[in-house]
């Protein structure tokens, strides 16, 4: 059976981030404390020992390390970074996001937009047209046609196909194929979506349609996927690695590197060690905590490595349950954020490499509105706000109101030690204003299990520390819209506004942002929404994660993306490694 897969071409890096580091940060520190990476012996030479042995020569193999090997190599039938990276090697898409997160055309001649006429409003009905590139073919030689686009839509809508998010697909009424090179997505009347250009996909109808959809993950196409990308799967060893060889018939020309290897590595320390011994040429989302960054940068200074750090869409927030009595007053929520020494946390835990976040969006998202001066660390201000809200110091300085002490059941998951440190820091800071919090650590399932199986989804929590990308939830709609509060009547199955934030003005702004195709209007709506969100604080923002990429020196055209949702192998056919 297939695991839950991806509905769109991108995939979350959730699992990669979830992975623990067996030996904690000790290993990285020890590795960094030792001298520069010595030359590896023949056994330790990277990339099969063949990589760029002779000076100035182009290496035949580039080895990419990632946390956890690809779980599958067939589009849509697995999950995780590995599959996403694999898909971008073997598959090709109509459009794909580049390193800036901007869609660029691949099998389509252009990214459909209102400006270029690829998208049109016909009355209140949106149509999105993809014109296919001539000369594009599947790796078995068959041409890519519009029927493959229509089939991909049909496939993703099939209940046996493990699509996670069908919110965009659900807005489409039909896909028309007036000719072999044209596919037209006709949206339902009145249904528009700012992400309309992402709606199209392709799948080889002449191959996949020969197998029942539910059997695809067990089919020959899982063993040897046939797609239209620059690389073909040569060898797949589950839980170990996947080896890809160049497809010379790729429409964009033969890839510059003959072989790409996606290799699973157990944790960040092992990743770092293998970078230093030369066994890896590139790491993709391998370093999950900022704590390792100084070590990597230290090693890079010693030579042999280059490091890039990019912002991500992921945030760390303290989610509050606004239906709990102690959080109903907005001044209390504001006091809790004023009381947090966020700059101190960033300095002590994250080496001062990130700044406190003051939005639910992150700088990597175009609609991000920066509010750098918001909620500076101010104990007195926090106490004053609590006093305004009616909370008075009782015995031992603990805040009480109507005879009730201020207590917070503060949830977190056991699997993430760094989050636990943030929780301890917050607990200490809140204690300073007389607010007691009890840290409750449970396995992820007990905290974040969907549809009422975890305390968050059944809204049985006061506060929870949460790493999440709210923008991924249909542009924030599922997270922040008042209609999306899960309720027992709906078995907690619909919506993910676990905060219980109900604000008519905010809802109207989100509706406007998601209901317009005018980019300027959307940006304005999102900006106003963020401003309102920051005043209301349904959650306390801590920071936005950074993505750390390390590569060998000599890698050319490696352009890591700014989000774990976008595969960093998007331009792998252009990569080359020379020494």
């Amino acid at each position: 059976m297939a695991s839950v897969g991806i509905g769109r071409k991108m995939e979350s890096g959730r699992r990669a981030r979830r992975r623990g580091v067996l030996a904690g940060g000790v290993g990285a520190a020890v590795l960094a404390a030792c001298g520069p990476a010595g030359g590896t012996g023949s056994a330790g030479t990277g990339s099969d020992g063949s990589a760029a042995q002779a000076g100035g020569k182009r290496a035949e193999t580039i080895t990419v390390g990632l946390l956890g090997a690809p779980s599958s190599t067939l589009w849509g039938t697995g999950s995780g970074n590995g599959l996403s990276l694999s898909n971008a090697l073997t598959d090709d898409f109509l459009t794909i996001p580049n390193d800036k997160g901007i869609l660029i055309p691949r099998l389509a001649q252009q990214v459909p937009s209102l400006e270029n006429g690829g998208a049109k409003m016909d009355g209140n009905r949106l149509t999105v047209t993809y014109k296919l590139r001539s000369g594009a073919k599947w790796q078995d030689g068959a041409p890519v046609t519009s029927k493959d686009v229509a089939y991909a839509f049909e496939l993703q809508n099939n209940p046996d196909f493990p699509t996670i998010d069908r919110s965009l697909l659900a807005k489409v009424e039909e896909v028309r194929t007036p000719d072999d090179a044209t596919a037209v997505f006709v949206f339902k009347a009145g249904q528009v979506d700012p992400n309309f250009a992402w709606v199209g996909n392709v799948a080889p109808k002449h191959l996949y349609s020969t197998v029942p959809v539910k059997d695809l993950p067990k089919s020959q196409f899982a063993e040897k996927p046939v797609h239209a990308g620059p690389y073909k799967l040569k060898e797949f060893t589950p839980n170990v690695q996947a080896v890809y060889e160049a497809f010379p018939g790729y429409w964009g020309g033969a890839p510059r590197t003959k072989t790409i290897v996606l290799k699973g590595v157990a944790d960040s320390n092992a990743m770092f060690a293998q970078m230093r011994t030369g066994q890896l040429d590139v790491t993709a989302y391998g370093f999950t905590g900022m704590d390792i960054l100084p070590d990597i940068e230290g090693a890079a200074k010693s030579g042999g490595l280059q490091v890039s750090v990019t912002p991500s869409t992921s945030t760390l927030i303290v989610a509050l349950n606004l239906d709990k009595p102690q959080f109903k007053d907005v001044r209390v929520r504001q006091a809790l954020l004023y009381a947090l020494n966020r700059p101190g946390m960033m300095k002590a835990i994250l080496h001062d490499r990130v700044k406190p976040l003051n939005s639910w969006l992150t700088p990597s998202i175009p609609y991000f509105a920066d509010s750098p001066a918001s909620y500076p660390y101010n104990i007195e201000k926090a106490k004053s706000l609590l006093a305004e809200a009616g909370w008075r110091p009782g015995a031992g300085g603990a805040m009480t109101k109507d005879g009730q002490p201020f207590k917070i059941a503060f949830w977190g998951r056991t699997e993430d030690k760094q989050r636990e440190i943030f929780m301890q820091a917050a607990q200490r800071d809140w204690k300073a204003i007389g607010v007691d919090s009890e840290i409750i650590l449970q396995p992820s399932t007990q905290v974040f299990g969907k549809q009422g199986s975890g305390v968050v989804s059944r809204r049985d929590f006061d506060a929870v520390i949460w790493q999440v990308s709210p923008f991924d939830a249909n542009g924030g709609y599922i997270f922040w819209h008042g209609s999306q509060v899960p309720t027992p009547e709906r078995q907690f199955r619909e919506g993910e506004n676990y905060f219980g934030w109900r604000n008519a003005k905010a809802d109207a702004l989100l509706d406007k942002a998601l209901g317009t195709l005018n980019e300027a209007e959307r940006k304005t709506a999102y900006t106003e929404h963020q401003k309102l969100w920051l005043e209301e604080l349904p959650a306390l923002p801590l920071f936005s994660h950074l993505l750390i990429h390390a590569t060998k020196k000599g890698i050319k055209n490696y352009k890591p993306t700014n989000s774990v949702r976008y595969p960093t192998t998007w331009n792998a056919h252009e990569w080359e490694l020379s020494e």
């Binding site: 297939a2 000790v26 067939l74 999950s79 797949f236 839980n239 399932t445 619909e494």
Partner: protein
């Protein structure tokens, strides 16, 4: 006749134990609250509820627990261990295990042989030269080997001999595309040393105490009194008898050959059964977790049965007790 009855009794016990193992392995996993899909989706936002329900149906989670158990056991009887959910979505568990078990047998097999040789040599030397410097050195090494955690020792080896000296790779089982034994050797050195350390330490202590006990037996004293050379007394009379209890201890360690060495395999990113088990747990791939746990449970049962059979064959007292 009595021996046969005794063995049949042991076989029945083993069969019952095996059934119990399947119940425990299956029950423990499937009674976890939430289910694997809930666990897997974790903090991801925007998941279509209908997709979750459909995915649960596809993996059979809409059926009652007992039906799932029966289906699983019937599959096992057919040699079908199921298909992977997440580690290698849709692929047969048997095939995935096959690649990993080879790696593990190589690692644990070589480590066991080295540990045996080194542990016995060290232990016997310590016994023969009791209270001499050899004995003190062996004791020191044994204590150190027992105290040093495998993950720390492995990391130190990586730092010293992979990162700094560059003599060995820092992980993996073989270079890309080369799985021959010769290609694997450099990749095995550091994990084998890491894995062997604790075994050498414990087996050397067993060997020492076993040989010391034997050396104090009357027949050894008699052999010495007869004027046999010291070497002949030790190697001809004492060592063979001292090995007997060790065979049992080593035999009961055989299941670990299959289970792999989770910590060592993880530190060295070595694709064996231990790491596969850990990865499968992290990725909620229950078909793989179940199969490895079952394999381990059954191998323990079989190893015990083997030991019982050996006892029955060679020990007259057991025959009479069985009667």
């Amino acid at each position: 006749m009595l021996q046969t009855r005794y063995l049949l009794g042991r076989l029945r016990q083993s069969a019952l134990l095996t059934v119990l193992v399947t119940v425990v392995v299956f029950g423990l996993l499937h009674l976890l609250p939430g289910g694997p899909l809930q666990a897997l989706l974790g903090e991801q936002a925007g998941v279509d509820p209908a997709s979750i329900r459909r995915a649960e149906e596809l993996i059979g989670f809409h059926k009652p627990l007992h039906e799932r158990y029966v289906e699983w056991v019937l599959g096992l009887a057919r040699g079908d261990f199921g298909t992977s959910w997440t580690v290698a979505a849709g692929r047969p568990v048997g095939g995935i295990l096959a690649t990993h078990i080879v790696n593990t047998l190589l690692l644990t097999g070589i480590s066991t042989l080295i540990s045996l040789a080194a542990g016995l040599a060290l232990g016997f030397a310590a016994a023969v030269w009791q209270h001499r410097w050899v004995d003190h050195l062996a004791t020191l090494l044994a204590v150190a080997g027992s105290c040093v955690p495998a993950f720390w020792f492995g990391l130190m080896l990586i730092v010293l001999f992979a990162v700094n000296a560059g003599w060995f790779p820092a992980g993996d089982a073989y270079p890309v595309g080369k799985t021959g034994l010769r290609d694997r050797v450099p990749y095995l050195v550091l994990p084998v040393i890491t894995l062997s350390l604790a075994s050498i330490a414990s087996w050397s202590r067993y060997a020492r105490s076993s040989l010391l006990e034997t050396l104090h037996q009357d027949y050894v004293r008699t052999a010495r009194a007869k004027g046999l050379a010291g070497r002949r007394v030790i190697f001809g009379h004492a060592v063979p008898n001292a090995l007997m209890p060790l065979i049992t201890i080593v035999g009961l360690d055989i299941p670990h050959l299959l289970a792999g060495a989770t910590v060592t395999e993880t530190v060295f990113t070595y694709p064996g059964m231990g790491r596969l088990f850990l990865t499968s747990l992290q990725m909620y791939d229950w078909p793989i977790v179940q199969t490895i746990a079952l394999l381990l449970g059954v191998s323990v049962v079989l190893a015990n049965l083997g030991a019982e059979v050996c006892y029955a064959l060679v020990t007259p007292q057991l025959r009479s007790e069985a009667a």
